[in-house]
C-alpha cells in the first residue's frame, strides 16, 4: 500500500502548518482530493483498486476533520511538534482553572436540575464566547510565540470547554425531548 504515512495532513492539503487555517482553501483542497480518490470513482474497477481508494478517501476525510476542528487541529500541531499534550497523564492544572471548572459545572447542574432551558441557553452562549477567547490565545501561542508548553495547557482547557458544551447540549436535548 502506497499511502504515505509520513506526509502530514497540512502537506496533503497543501496548507501552511499553522493553527490559523483558511477554511475555504481547506474545503476546496478536500473536494479536490476526494474527487480523485473517492470510492465512487473506482466503483467499476477491480476490488484491489476499490480497497486502495477506500483507504485513501478515509485518510483524506480524517485529514479534513483534523484540520477543520480547532481542538483537533491544535492537538495535531502539538503532535507534529513532538509535544505531549498530556491529555491522559497531566492532571496538574492550575487551582484557578479547577475553580473555574467547578463553577461552570455547578451552574450547568443547577440549571439542568431546575429544568431551566433559558438558563442553559444563556450558559451555552457564554461558553461559546469563552471558547472564542481561549482559541484566540491558542492561536497566539502556537503561531506567534511558538510556546508549545503553554499551548498544551490551553488545549486541555479547550477540551474541558468542549466537554461541558456537550453536556449542555445533552441537557437541552433531554429537556426538549
Amino acid at each position: 500500500m502506497s499511502i504515505d504515512l509520513t506526509q502530514d495532513y497540512f502537506s496533503l492539503f497543501e496548507l501552511p502548518r499553522a493553527y490559523a487555517v483558511d477554511d475555504r482553501a481547506l474545503e476546496a483542497a478536500w473536494h479536490r482530493l476526494q474527487s480523485q480518490v473517492h470510492p465512487d470513482r473506482y466503483a467499476h474497477l477491480p476490488d484491489a483498486d476499490k480497497r486502495r481508494s477506500m483507504q485513501w478517501a478515509t485518510r483524506v476525510n480524517e485529514g479534513f476533520r483534523t484540520l477543520q476542528k480547532p481542538l483537533a487541529r491544535a492537538q495535531y500541531l502539538l503532535v507534529l511538534a513532538g509535544v505531549d499534550a498530556g491529555v491522559e497523564t497531566n492532571t496538574a492544572m492550575s487551582a484557578e482553572f479547577l475553580m473555574e471548572q467547578m463553577e461552570w459545572r455547578e451552574a450547568v447542574e443547577e440549571a439542568r436540575a431546575a429544568g431551566e432551558v433559558g438558563e442553559l441557553e444563556k450558559l451555552h452562549t457564554r461558553l461559546l464566547q469563552h471558547a472564542r477567547e481561549v482559541r484566540a490565545a491558542l492561536e497566539r501561542q502556537l503561531d506567534i510565540d511558538h510556546d508549545y508548553a503553554q499551548a498544551a495547557d490551553t488545549v486541555r482547557r479547550l477540551m474541558f470547554i468542549e466537554k461541558l458544551q456537550h453536556e449542555i447540549d445533552d441537557a437541552l436535548l433531554a429537556l426538549e425531548g
Binding site: S35, Q36, D40, E62
Partner: protein, 622 residues
Amino acid sequence: MALLQIAEPGMSTAPHQHRLAVGIDLGTTNSLVATVRNGIAVCLPDEAGRSMLPSAVRYRADGGIDVGQVALKAQTTDARNTILSVKRFMGRGVKDVAHVETMPYDFEDGPGMVRLRTVQGVKSPVEVSAEVLRVLRARAEASLGGALCGAVITVPAYFDDAQRQATKDAARLAGVDVLRLLNEPTAAAVAYGLDNAAEGVYAVYDLGGGTFDLSILKLSRGVFEVLSTNGDAALGGDDFDHRLFCSILERAAIDPPSLEDARRLQMKAREAKELLTSCEEAPIHVRLSSGELVDIVITREDFAEMTRHLVQKTLTPVRKALRDAGLAPDEVKGVVMVGGATRMPHIQRAVATFFGQEPLTNLDPDKVVALGAAMQANALAGNRAQEDDWLLLDVIPLSLGLETMGGLVEKVVPRNSTLPVARAQEFTTFKDGQTAMAFHVVQGERELVADCRSLARFELRGIPPLVAGAARIRVSFQVDADGLLSVSAREMSSGVEASVLVKPSYGLSDDEITQMLKSGIEHAGDDMMSRALREQQVEGQRMIEAAERALASDGDLLDVEERGAIDAAIAELRALCAGSDHRAIKTGIDAFARTTDEFAARRMDKSIRSALAGHKVDELEL
C-alpha cells in the same frame, strides 16, 4: 467510406463502451428502476407502460410467485401469502415491527431477523425483497437489451447497518451487482440539483411508505455534501393509513375484523388518503364479509387532525438534523419534497410553516429517487462524461460504538461522519492474566447498550497473559461508502488479531445466503458451477479492461521491464478467462492483482498530485 471496426472475439471492445447500469428505488410501497439513456435519466416501464411496481410478493400454492399488480389483486383473498411493505421487516426482529397484531402474516419469531411462514415455506424479508429486485432486473435487461453491469440501490438514509446489509443481501440473491447503496434523500438531491443547477444549502424531506428521512446538503460546484441526516426508519405513509384505518373501526363501531376484512379496510383507508390530496372529503362505503356495512365520510380536516401527531413526529428529526448541521431553518435555501406521502396537503403546510417557505414540489416525488440513483449508477459504471462530473460526500446516519463496563456505550464513530471513515479505540484487560476479550458492536445515539441496536459480537483470543490494564487492544472500525461496517481488533504488543466483517445479529448468515442462492438456482435450472464461472470471468475481464485503460493513460509510469511483466500478466489472465475452470481464474485474478499492485499505487499517487497541481507553491510553508 469509413470501415467499421470489429474487435477480435474475446478481446475487449473499445474502452469507452457504454456499460448498462441502473438505479433501483426499492420502496416500501412501490419500486422503480431507471437508467440514463442518451444523457437523460428515465424510468423504465413494464409492458403496460407502468413505471411503478408495487412492492408486493405473493407466494402461490401452486409454487408460482407473483410480484407487483398481480400480487396486489390477491391481497384480500390470500392475505397470508401476499407480502406487502416487506421493507419494514428488513434487518428487524418481530418486536421491532409496529402494528404486528393487525398484520395478516404468520410470523416466525426467533433470534435475528423476522421470518414469514408462507404456503411455500418460511421466507426471510431478504428473499421477498429479492423477488421484487428480480422483476426489476428482468425489466431492465429486456429494455436495455443486455446484462446489467451493476445497479445503485437506494436505501433510507436512516437505515442502520443491519438494514443496509439485508438490502445488499437481497440484491445478491437477485443476481444484481451492487455498485453502491445510495441514501434516498441524497439520490433525490442529485436529481434535483443537477436538473436545476442548484447551489447552496438544501433540505430533503423524504416521507416514503414506511420510512422518514431528513437530510441537509450543501451543493457547491458539482459537490453534493451531506452535512447531516436524521429520520425515523419506522415512520411513513403506512402509519397515516393505519391511523385512518383505526379511526374507521372506531367510527363504524366494528368488532375486531377478520384478517381479510382488515386488509379490505386498510385498502379503503389508503384510497381515502389519496383522494383527500385532491378532494375535501372522501366517502368510505364497504360491505364486510361479516355483513356489517361501513358507510362514513372522512373530511380533509378530520384526517389532518387524527394524524397531527405523526406530522409533528417528522419535525423532531428535522430539528435534530439542523442542529447537527449548525443551521437555523431560515438558512436553508430550499426544501425538496420526496416520497408519495409528501402529497398530503397538511404535510406540505407543516413543512412550509417550519422552514418559512413553500417547499419545492416541482418534481415527481415518486420518481425522483430512482432518477437520481440512475444518474449515479451511470457515473459509477464509468460512463461519466467529463462535463457532468460531480462528487457525492455522504455521511453515516447513526453513531457506532462498543459496549464497555456496566452496559454503557463507548462511541467510536460519531453520527454524520463523512464516508468512508475509520476510527480506532484502545481498550485494556480487566483482570490479571486475562487472555480473551469479547466485543459487542452497537449502533445508536443512546448511552445504554440496551437502548441501541446490537450489530455484532466477536471475541479476540490469545492475548498474552499480563497484569490487568497492561495489554493494549486496539479496535478499528472501518465504514465504507455504502455505510457498511467492518471491525478488527488487535493486541498491540503481540500482534494477535481478530477481524470480523460485521454480520449483523439481525442479518442472514453466509450459510443461509449460500443455501438461498443454491435453491434459487436449482429453481431456475441453472447450476452453481456455471454461475461461479461467470462471476470470475466477469471479474477477470473487468481487471483486464481496467489494466488496459491504465496502460493507455499512464503507461509512462512503468519502465520497460515492468511494462513487459504487466503485458504478460494480461495475456495470461485472458487465456485463463477463456477457459472454464473458475478456481484457476480466481487464482489468476489474485496473481494479476499482485503484479499490477505497484502500478495502481503509482497511478493513485499521480492522481492525488494532479488534484493539487496548479496550486501556487508560495502558499506552502516548507
